[in-house]
Amino acid sequence: MPVIIVNQTFEPWSELQQQTQALSLRPGSYGASNIFLGTMRDFNEGDDVQAMTLEHYPGMTEKHLEAIIEEAKSQFDIDEALIIHRVGPIQPAETIVLTAVWSAHRKAAFDANRFLMEELKHRAPFWKQETLQNGSTRWVEKNTPG
């Protein structure tokens, strides 16, 4: 399954190792992999952030992430792509999102992975709510430009 929504912390590198083995990637067939990790920072817009909650739209989220992967596969010369995204409560330094692309050559790997992240940021129904140090919460209004 190239789209995975998880509601608990995961170690990105061991998860990636597992998922790589689960994908239909013949060892020796691909020459390039590009991986992006989005990690929760403990500050944002000048404030200390102590926690975050990620809301999503179950069903629509998966559907759109799968569509983004299909589009990446049709636009770029890639073998496989993977998106793992957290939902629910998240602590600083935890991984929010992991995207990965495997291809024959490096250009497609870089281009396709950037495409995955930009499309995900703009289209996938996720919403971040931050909890500040004083315990108050606020919804993140918009993403940083890519």
Binding site: E55, M60, H85, W127
Partner: protein, 77 residues
């Protein structure tokens, strides 16, 4: 006909609920679903909407059993 309406994130907080059920006699647009569900509340700027989990515009026509959702700009990743 019966339409399931869902609200997400800050919009759900503002409305104080995550869903509504709208009843309609004939053809109805997304904008009319919003009007009916919120008792004529002006739609906040930048609001996004989806019909059956696909992005939609305010003038899209809704069918019986459709799911309509309203939510603020997405901020994942």
């Amino acid at each position: 006909m019966s339409i399931q309406v869902r609200y997400f994130a800050s919009l759900g907080d503002q409305l104080g609920r995550q869903e509504d059920q709208v009843q309609a006699e004939g053809p109805i647009t997304v904008a009319e679903v919003w009007q009916q569900a919120t008792d004529g509340l002006p739609m906040p700027p930048n609001i996004l909407m989806a019909v059956n989990q696909e992005y939609a515009e305010t003038d899209q026509t809704i069918n019986d059993g459709d799911e309509v959702a309203f939510f603020p700009p997405v901020t994942g990743g």
